[in-house]
């Protein structure tokens, strides 16, 4: 009897009640914090998306995958697949990790102080919406060249979108890439 009562209370009445209430009080958050442009959803401010074009700031490497359309028992890499969150789960000593970073660096030369740590590593969810301010700064030259924009304006834009650590203490400073790129598209 207790089992039935708990199931009805905790499994049905409360979740549904909260869902209804949430939809009324905090509809944006309850629906996934969608970001609209011209009335169309272009993403969620909490969920990262893949940026491959040189004229956008790029998100971190992502280890998410999707079922292989040719053979459903296998998977193929699909970065920022928000229907299947996952991490690389590579050990610090994994050859696959070292090879991945080598491939990403390619023939480039390291910036002063080295590549930003988060630029070369994949996140725990594979959906990290943020990059560190250092990572963003290291992408300024590429984006500026692709957009034929003064790099100083881009640096100002990054500063504007920089979210500091909580109370200056907890967590990391970061820049939300989707919001940064939306602002970039709005720039004249």
């Amino acid at each position: 009897m207790l089992v039935v009562l708990f199931t009805v209370l905790c499994g049905l009445a409360l979740p549904l009640g909260i869902t209804g209430l949430a939809g009324l009080v905090v509809p944006v958050q309850a629906g996934g914090s969608l970001v609209l442009r011209d009335g169309q959803p272009v993403g969620s401010s909490l969920i990262g998306q893949s940026f491959a074009r040189p004229d956008y700031f790029q998100t971190r490497p992502s280890a998410t995958s999707a079922p292989d359309p040719k053979d459903s028992s296998k998977t193929v890499p699909l970065p920022y697949n928000a229907a299947n969150s996952s991490a690389s789960n590579l050990a610090p000593t994994a050859k696959a990790l070292i090879d991945r970073v080598k491939a990403q660096i390619g023939t480039g030369t390291a910036p002063e102080g080295g590549y930003a740590q988060d630029q070369m590593t994949s996140s725990g969810s594979g959906l990290d919406p943020d990059i560190s301010p250092e990572n963003a700064a290291q992408q300024v030259a590429r984006v500026a060249a692709a957009r034929k924009i003064d790099p100083a304006r881009l640096r100002a834009l990054i500063d504007e979108h920089r979210q500091p650590a909580l109370l200056g203490l907890f967590g990391g400073a970061r820049v939300n890439v989707l919001e940064l790129n939306l602002a970039l598209d709005r720039m004249k």
Binding site: A30, G31, S85, N89, A91, P92, I98, D118, A165, R174
Partner: protein, 569 residues
Amino acid sequence: MTALGVAQIVLLLAVVVGCAIPLGAFIAAVLSGRRTFLSPVLGPVERGLFRLSGIDPAHGMGWRTYTVALLVITAVHTLLLYAILRLQFYLPFNPQGFTGMSPRLAFNTAISFATNTNWQAYSGETTLSNGAQMLGLTVHNFVSAAVGISAAAAVSRAFSPASKGVLGNAWADITRIVLYVLLPISLLMTAALLALGAPQTLLGSVTVTTLEGVKQVISIGPVAFQEAIKILGTNGGGFFNANSAHPFENPGILSDLIENWALLLIPFSMPVMFGLLAGRARDGMALLATMALLLTGFALLLYAAEAGGNPLLHALGVSNLGGNMEGKEVRFGTALSSLFAASTTATSTGAVIAAHDSLMPLGGLVTLFLIQLGEVIPGGVGSGLYGIVVFALLAVFVAGLMVGRTPEYLGKKIQAKEVKLAMLAVLILPLSILGGTALSLNTASGLGSLANAGPHGLSEMLYAWTSATGNNGSAFAGLSADTPLLDYGLAIAMILGRFAFLVPVMAIAGSLSLKQSLRPGAGTFPTDGALFVGLLAGVILILGGLQYLPALSLGPLAEHFAMLAHATY
């Protein structure tokens, strides 16, 4: 390691302990049937539930009846969850049209939630409907947590001079814990998480078109409420595969602080409740101090390992600033990620905000070791308390051997029967962890599950058996866990870790509750001071930890030294 990072860890732990003390007193009052500030609201609901299910809270149970009650409610819920997982296709709220889980995976998942392990052999967003998440997993998160706290309350009462063989009423305890403790706090947490961005909807997914014109399908669902109880009840089974690293489960820094606080809150309140129910408040505080000191030390150790960064990547020209970020989220950084990793393994929660498989070798070692210590600093809700009481009995036994007197704890004589039962409970864990790891690494199926080669592969398998036996549920998640060997094997390990530990402990409680309470004499070893805290910490580290040293040397330690020599696998 920066001063700022250390400050984040120490401050949050201090706040947790500060809140846990009044909460422990509140839980003790609720379980004693006393009036609290919530009684005017919840009292009628409580009496209604009692009447509907025919519970008489005044009817006390002996240890056998109490234990059987805990086993029965667990068994019924396990069967119900198994049915829900298999039949989710026929249940409402299945917008993605997921079919039923395979029998093997459903068996593993049902056991896993019933034992408060919440091992994720399943992947939430690709196999489970919203209906199964709410009706199955969310309900279990409440009940398995309440079962743990009830057991802890029963053990606490055994030490009270007034107990005389009666340990309380299991049904009343479970109901009161859900009603007065788990529901109110998880509702407050749900509200906070909702405001901070965790979704709560009956949709299965939304589709957007990204700035580069690609369709992105975003899984979504009734996340916020489940996340709250998953953390609060030290359950840890995520709505999403990536668990609390997923931005919908843990959207920002503040939500992370709340979740980390909540997963430690009830475990740290348990020793306070123990002291009050046993009538020895100061002894409860000594247990609390032991837990807090050990956890702070291990959390800082883990942070030190992560903050240094990966030397192999540094050699390629990657900055070490910020530490090892593989498998971590930018918003959390290494300090909060390390604190969460230590908290989740020390409490048997098993939720993660970073990929434990990608922790530095020594960081991974700390997470493994924290589970192997027996989940007692502070351990899962309830289970941590009865675990540390076992260690306390062994500590006074060791002290008794040194001075040649019959040991007592809280006025109860500890004799051969109790020590034998305590050792039985403590020895089940290494048998299952080391035996299971050795067994599965000697099969082709076990080796085929490994994602990483070299010593890290051994760590992956060791972590799986450690996590299942310790009822933790976190993983070195590269491991392919949905195989016949691991689905069945780990399910058995979870049952052993939960009930082969719980039943001897309840037997100890039954035996102690029948004994006379002695007045402390000149030869009584005081169990409420700094000396006892030191002794207990030593017993936990040596007795709980030493037996795993060979396995840890072959896994994480070997990997650490290989890494320093720039070896890769």
